[in-house]
């Protein structure tokens, strides 16, 4: 048995859209149940616990492929949906974060340093150092709760399929689009609102948003390609697109707030940052693509671990 876990739809490059990609049929098996989002909203405490664990996972994963934290957070959500939030203790949150991270790393065959994990987890807290057996026991509990369905179908799984529909011929442009969509997907996972949508819907919406940013004149073509795909519900994509747009706007507003003491008028500042982002995004991705051409024979979809400088600025 052999499979490309990260690009399961890769074999459909030459098939028309009406081939039946199996992932569309089973993606619902690999996301939290529909009522999970509602039960989270009903409790501020639950939301804060999730936010804490998501933050821990992000710290653990910041140097890895974006699929890794996404997968780990998917495990977290599915686990919480199954088990509920039982342990309102910082050490339990850390143990859960480490276990989800570790399982995701195993699924992706990613090697990591257990020592680095320990150091990160102990930062700001003099206490808990987890025994290996403790983590293994917690992994077993997570596996049982998720019924060993660990090959989660993430939005990343669908990106190559949709990008293929867009018929962008330039590999560099395709990569730019994929990278930006991946960044949007990763950022949006932190918001509870996105949990209501299926991975394929999130992927389609993120790609549309990225294409609107990067290729506004071709956007109508892309929109039509997505709308024509029989596995996608257009209305749901519109809803998801709006949620993603709101999240992206919050990103801009955060940046603007940091500079609110500036003497520059707001509208001028807004224009400045938009053009700055556009310029840096293009530059960064072009460099990355060239670098990939030199270093690798085969380009992986998510080999680019870099964030655009704009995002880094936001995170400061």
């Amino acid at each position: 048995m052999d499979f490309d876990l990260e690009n399961p739809l890769g074999n459909f490059h030459d098939l028309p859209c009406d081939a039946v990609p199996s992932l569309f049929l089973i993606e619902s098996d690999h996301i939290p149940p529909p009522n999970y989002c509602q039960s989270l909203k009903a409790s501020d405490f639950d939301i804060s616990v999730r936010r804490d664990v998501v933050s821990l996972i992000s710290q653990l994963s910041c140097t890895f492929d974006p699929v890794l934290p996404y997968l780990a957070i998917n495990y977290l959500d599915r686990f919480l949906a199954n088990q509920g939030i039982l342990q309102p203790k910082p050490w339990a949150n850390k143990l859960l974060a480490v276990s989800c991270f570790s399982l995701a790393a195993k699924m992706l065959k990613t090697e990591y340093s257990a020592t680095d994990v320990q150091v990160l987890m102990n930062h700001g807290d003099g206490g808990a150092i987890f025994e290996t057996q403790t983590i293994q026991r917690m992994e077993g509990i997570v596996l049982g709760a998720l019924q060993w369905r660990m090959r989660s179908i993430t939005p990343f799984s669908f990106i190559p399929f949709f990008v293929n529909l867009f018929r962008l011929k330039d590999p560099a442009l395709r990569q730019v689009l994929k990278d930006r969509a991946s960044e949007i997907i990763l950022k949006s996972q932190r918001e509870i609102k996105v949990l209501e949508f299926k991975p394929s819907t999130v992927a389609a919406s993120a790609l549309l948003y990225a294409s609107h940013e990067l290729f506004p004149f071709q956007y109508p073509c892309f929109l039509r390609a997505i709308s024509d795909c029989s596995y996608i519900n257009k209305e749901t994509v519109v809803q998801c697109y709006n949620v993603i747009q709101d999240i992206a706007r919050e990103e801009y507003e955060s940046v603007l707030n940091i500079n609110s003491t500036s003497d520059t008028p707001v509208n001028v500042l807004d224009e400045h940052f938009l053009s700055l982002e556009s310029e840096k995004t293009n530059g960064t991705n072009v460099v990355v693509t060239q670098e990939q051409d030199f270093k690798r024979r085969k380009t992986t979809d998510y080999g680019n671990n870099r964030r655009v400088p704009f995002s880094h600025f936001h995170q400061c």
Binding site: M1, S22, Q87, M107, I135, Q136, R149, R151
Partner: protein, 337 residues
Amino acid sequence: MEKTGVLSAKEAFEKLEKVGEGTYGKVYRAREKATGKIVALKKTRLHEDEEGVPPTTLREVSILRMLSRDPHVVRLMDVKQGQNKEGKTVLYLVFEYMDTDLKKFIRSFRQSGETIPPHIIKVILSICPSIFNIRFFFVHLFLSIWLQSLMYQLCKGVAFCHGHGILHRDLKPHNLLMDRKTMMLKIADLGLARAFTVPIKKYTHEILTLWYRAPEVLLGATHYSMAVDMWSVGCIFAELVTKQALFPGDSELQQLLHIFRLLGTPNEDVWPGVSKLMNWHEYPQWNPQSLSTAVPSLDELGLDLLSQMLKYEPSKRISAKKAMEHVYFDDLDKRHL
């Protein structure tokens, strides 16, 4: 945090008999005490080190769980972790139980004597109905009816695996499980589950995996594609008709020579790139023979489908999905498949 009421694997199942053993563990026919359901219980000890559940095990169990939703892949119903007497972690894979496999099924028909083509049976029956032994007649009629159904189910199961980017790479009658009552066929021995295959050395006259192996694999191709499984499907198709293996080689070289004698020795014209494969040598030059010489009782449509499964060039070989759409299956009632 362990849920109360969840039974350990030992408590939940009653082992009835051991039905297999391999490098990694044992296979039991067992009964689930709570439901009385018969299952195949596959027990394996995890080779733990610091990493807990090994990544390979985790990945492959996850794949089996995902594939289990298709009716033509044997269903992994549950996974349970337990501990053995020495305190080591043990994994129990709980599969649906199937009472036979295609290998046994074919063998049971082999003992019925020579094959008579279905259309000949119909003609003779219409002329002299009393001539034939009833059992003999129904055995062959039975098989000819089910041939299409079994092949369709096989293509469907393989298409499902391939639709998830998963190759089997070891398709053969032994790991195609069957339910005699419903004539349902299911693919088994994917990944970790394959570890439970009975060791080859217990079979004295058969090398299990060679007979169904694609020529590009035998010639040392390093990049497999889904086509390797379709070659195996073609070999199984022919064997279902003739009840004998199509290419019964007893070494890799003999396996290749069996193939070349029937399909002709490949060259750069029929298979671009073949002479650059790692294990390529000079071979005796045979001309291709008609497939009907090897599978004389298969009708024209079946021969066409078979020929597309046995294309030398992997990229030209028919896919499982396209095979399902082939006209050979047009008159098959697919509503329950």
